[in-house]
């Protein structure tokens, strides 16, 4: 089982994801440079947080054109796992791998805080270790995390169980309090909160670790994955 973390110019949380997977969970993980044209070896690709290409023009707008993103698309088409966190989520929506878009926080400010999330669906390879309705504390750090999506799409996403995390107290104006959504096939997850920042007792929070453990369970073949 191998994780790959894509490093775009301007990625910041690549090292944090790496650290959680490698040092905390002891898994095989590699950095992938943004112009890589080969992702065959990897089982789960992570698009980390940060400010790819400075987030100029729109967050994640430029990153979608990198060579690695073409491969991520293929990787996702094969049904393999893709996890986009924060800027990674923004890139996934810009690239059309997830519906909707992320716009400026309602208060127009960058927000760095720890917020309560509710797990809406645990029947996925990303959330199997959580219980439905479980409330977890996960840090957020974004200026544009306000998720917008049209009503029809939202309705379909809800029916299909694609909304995985919602905010208990909406920090950014996000539609339907959405914090994280996946695609219809449930192998691509995008979320604004940073589970990799909640992976160690020393940092005062371990609520995010179960997300990575869920993925590991799935990749090890032991977990449920609805298809």
């Amino acid at each position: 089982m191998k994780f790959g973390i894509i490093v775009f110019p301007g990625s910041n949380c690549d090292i944090d994801c790496y650290h959680v997977l490698k040092d905390v969970l002891g898994k095989d993980v590699e950095y992938i440079w943004h112009d890589t044209e080969e992702l065959e070896d990897f089982d789960c690709i992570i698009l980390p947080g940060g400010f790819s290409y400075g987030d100029y023009l729109r967050c994640g707008a430029v990153a979608q054109f990198s060579k690695a993103m073409e491969q991520v698309r293929l990787h996702a088409e094969k049904g393999k796992l893709v996890l986009g966190i924060c800027n990674g989520f923004q890139i996934l929506t810009e690239a059309g791998l997830l519906s909707g878009a992320l716009v400026r926080n309602k208060n127009l400010k960058f927000i760095c805080d720890t917020v309560a999330l509710k797990v809406e669906n645990n029947n996925t390879s990303f959330t199997s270790r959580y219980n439905v309705g479980e409330v977890i504390d996960i840090p957020i750090a974004h200026g544009e995390g306000n998720y917008v999506v049209d009503e029809d799409t939202l309705k379909k996403m809800k029916e299909n169980g694609q909304v995985l995390f919602t905010y208990e107290e909406n920090p950014n104006g996000s539609t339907f309090n959405i914090a994280g959504v996946c695609n219809a096939r449930k192998n691509v997850l995008g979320m604004m909160p940073h589970p990799e920042r909640a992976g160690e007792a020393l940092l005062g929070n371990t609520d995010g670790i179960k997300l990575f453990q869920s993925i590991i369970d799935y990749l090890e073949g032991g977990a449920k994955n609805d298809k």
Partner: protein, 733 residues
């Protein structure tokens, strides 16, 4: 032509000195280069003479003042690089960009040493905010600028301070501090060594940025370039992130013999400083410098302050290696000249010599140095004319405490640090909101603690004592987090050094810092001076900002200030005296900035700091908090608010109640201890003979303070929290 020197901000003697050095008239380019290098900002001509008072070394200091940043050993082959820098004037003109580029500049200083920047702090001062749209605008812009740069580049902003006082209404202060980690054998310096080695330029192209000031001769400038010149620099954190990663990767290869950031005075200062520290000479071709705009004059290129640029001194023959790595990061690099040993900085324009000056005559070793007159200002005597009985005792202490918690100087700064990513790189163990931030050091058990401190009201009333207190309070904050204080960087913000009364403040402050640093064994390893922070009629309060770093041998033992559990015993360490002079209470409640500042006794201070540190290291404390602005009353409230825990405490005292509650006597701490550990603590205190009282316990949902059997404060923690947490947000929204 008589007044050529005035146009570049120099005086007659200084111009004569140039004539003497060169043995001829300088040309326009040369004159401008002297102008910027001999400006106060680059040459420290008014302050350098006093720096000899600073203690700058001990067995832990690996790099003292004089380089891009200071470096202090934290053991295990690891070290911390740190520096603070002011960006006051740019921030007053354009708060967002001014603050952003301040952050960008200080980060470059850190990675120029080869260190990986791991944390940012900032220290801000503004005029009173409550009824000033201007101050709100400044605060909003400055905070967004700091956030915009730091968040984007991915370095957590973990601490800082902000105060509001009318003395800053015309001159806000924005000081940014950066801290980096480095292994001992990887330290790099800004040396142009090895004759024949290549000088390379990396990063953003050079534009006409940062040339708005007076230090610019206009004789040969066309109107067009006049119009295109801009005093405001725009930061590009994305570019800097690439530059940072590229430089750190380059330094790993061993092909870089020297590295220097391009800061104030741009290429001019980077070239002459690296030359002076190296073989003594350098030749560069100004035509080879990448430019953002067409038609730039050599002088514009040489003194531009465009952001996100670095100068590298590269081993001859390895330039391609540099190009490859730099290109990988989407940047470009170019050879602009070579190291020489003839002692000259030679600026070529193609084949022609455009300027030629002894390199060491430009930089601070050759710049003028002044010993200015100083004289105690008249106000000093006046303000001391105060006794605590001059003010009336408040009627309702609940109200007084709430009023203090609501003061923008004491209220929660969450509105600010919520905009800063303080968690990126997942190393922030103690986040903003406690006494000092604590960062883990990856790959070791250690941690470092960081803080900035300066109570400038005390520095105004007594610059020497106030400055001692700034250093000591910083140390107290570090100790409360469980770390041993190691070293400081100082951001000295003052009025004009040419006025004897201001210069007196500056001198007193330096003497105070020096004494405290010597006492606490925390040498000064880097710093910055910002003068002329004054308007026609008034100057800012003297503001020597102290940035301090400390080390924790075991980061798991980090301690925070908030009470942890019901039933814990609360102790007050130290002595409370009749010392409300200069207090926030006196200023906020009675509208007075007066009095003697609290006295500091280093013997007691050191004893208590050592005690608190040892108790934390032994795992005996639940919480530790130092008492500073707002005194005992505010400190108790702050301890309770963190986890919404009440406390019941009582005192027997001869002091008036307001003095007991709000005096800002030094060397005091509030500790909380589990009952079962109390005896151990008592035993430790007996052996060191530390003054302490057991004042009560953590309990319930209210803060209840009984003084001489009368219940003086009785208030729900919730209510205090709401007031304290909401105050700044309420002003800003």
């Amino acid at each position: 032509m008589t007044n050529r020197y005035k146009a570049v901000g120099l005086n007659k003697q200084e111009y004569d000195k140039i004539l003497e050095v060169l043995g001829r008239e300088p040309n326009e380019l040369e004159l401008n280069m002297y102008g910027v290098m001999w400006s106060e900002h680059c040459s420290y001509k008014h302050s350098r003479a006093l720096f000899r008072h600073f203690p700058t070394s001990n067995e832990r200091v690996l790099q003292g003042p004089g380089e891009n940043a200071g470096i202090v050993d934290i053991g295990d082959n690891l070290a911390v690089a740190m520096k603070i820098e002011s960006h006051n004037h740019p921030s007053a003109i354009e708060p967002y960009q001014g603050a952003a580029t301040g952050v960008g500049g200080i980060i470059r200083d850190i990675f120029a040493m080869g260190a990986r920047p791991i944390a940012l702090l900032n220290s801000l001062r503004f005029g009173e905010i409550e009824n000033s749209d201007r101050v709100k605008f400044l605060l909003e812009g400055v905070v967004e600028g700091i956030a915009g740069y730091g968040n984007c580049i991915g370095i957590p902003t973990v601490g800082g301070e902000v105060y509001f006082n009318q003395s800053y209404r015309g001159n806000p202060l924005v000081n940014a501090m950066c801290v980096g980690l480095i292994e001992h054998d990887k330290i790099h310096r800004g040396n142009a060594s090895g004759v024949g080695n290549s000088i390379m330029y990396v990063g953003a192209a050079t534009g006409r940025d940062g040339m708005g000031g007076a230090s610019f001769a206009s004789v040969e400038l066309t109107e067009e370039s006049e119009e295109k010149r801009s005093a405001v620099q725009v930061g590009d954190p994305f570019m800097e992130k690439l530059l940072l990663e590229a430089c750190l990767e380059l330094l790993e290869t061993g092909c870089v013999v020297g590295i220097q950031d391009l800061g104030a005075a741009g290429l001019t200062s980077a070239c002459c400083e690296t030359a002076t520290r190296g073989e003594g000479g350098m030749e560069i071709d100004v035509l080879k410098i990448p430019r953002r705009e067409k038609g730039m004059l050599p002088v514009e290129v040489m003194i531009s302050e465009s952001q996100e640029r670095m100068l590298l001194i590269v081993e001859k023959g390895r330039e391609e290696e540099v190009n490859r790595i730099v290109e990988k990061w989407g940047l470009y690099s170019v050879v602009i000249g070579k190291v020489t040993n003839d002692g000259f900085l030679r600026v070529m324009e193609g084949d022609e010599v455009a300027g030629e000056m002894p390199a060491d005559s430009l930089d601070s070793s050759g710049a003028p140095k002044y010993y200015k007159d100083y004289e105690m200002p008249a106000y000093i005597k006046e303000v001391k004319n105060f006794t605590s009985t001059d003010v009336e005792e408040p009627q309702d202490y609940n109200e007084t405490l709430l009023a203090l918690l609501k003061s923008p100087n004491l209220a929660s700064k969450e509105w600010i640090y919520r905009q800063y990513d303080h968690m990126v790189r997942t190393s922030t163990v103690v986040k903003p909101g406690s006494d000092a931030a604590v960062m883990r050091v990856r790959g070791s058990k250690k941690g470092i603690a960081l803080t900035t401190d300066c109570n400038s009201r005390l520095c105004y009333l007594d610059p020497r004592e106030g400055s001692k207190i700034a250093v000591t309070e910083a140390a107290r904050n570090i100790v409360c987090s469980g770390a041993k204080p190691l070293a400081i960087t100082d951001g000295l913000n003052f009025g004009s050094p040419e006025k004897p009364d201001r210069f007196w403040q500056f001198r007193e402050s330096i003497l105070g810092i020096s004494e405290a640093c010597r006492e606490l064994d925390t040498p000064v390893i880097s710093g910055n001076v910002s003068f002329y922070n004054e308007t026609e009629t008034y100057a800012i309060h003297p503001t020597p900002i102290i940035g301090m770093v400390g080390v924790l041998e075991d980061v798991e033992k980090a301690c925070t200030m908030e009470f942890k559990e019901d039933g814990d015993v609360i102790l007050l360490l130290g002595n409370t005296k009749d010392e409300i002079g200069g207090s926030e209470y006196l200023a906020r409640i009675h509208g007075l900035e007066k009095g003697e500042v609290p006295a500091i006794n280093f013997g007691l201070e050191k004893k208590l700091q050592a005690f608190v540190l040892e108790a934390i290291e032994k795992g005996l404390l639940q919480s530790a908090h130092d008492l500073s602005e707002g005194g005992l009353g505010v400190a108790l409230a702050e301890c309770g608010i963190g986890r919404r825990l009440g406390a019941n405490v009582s005192f027997e005292t001869n002091l008036r109640k307001d003095i007991l509650l709000f005096s800002e006597s030094q060397s005091r701490f509030i500790l909380s201890v589990k009952k079962e550990k109390l005896q151990q603590i008592k035993d430790m205190m007996e052996t060191v003979a530390a003054p302490y009282e057991i004042i009560g316990e953590v309990t319930g949902e209210k803060l209840q303070v009984t003084i001489n059997d009368s219940l003086t404060i009785d208030m729900a923690v919730n209510q205090m929290e709401e007031t304290w947490r909401g105050a700044l947000a309420c002003i800003m929204e």
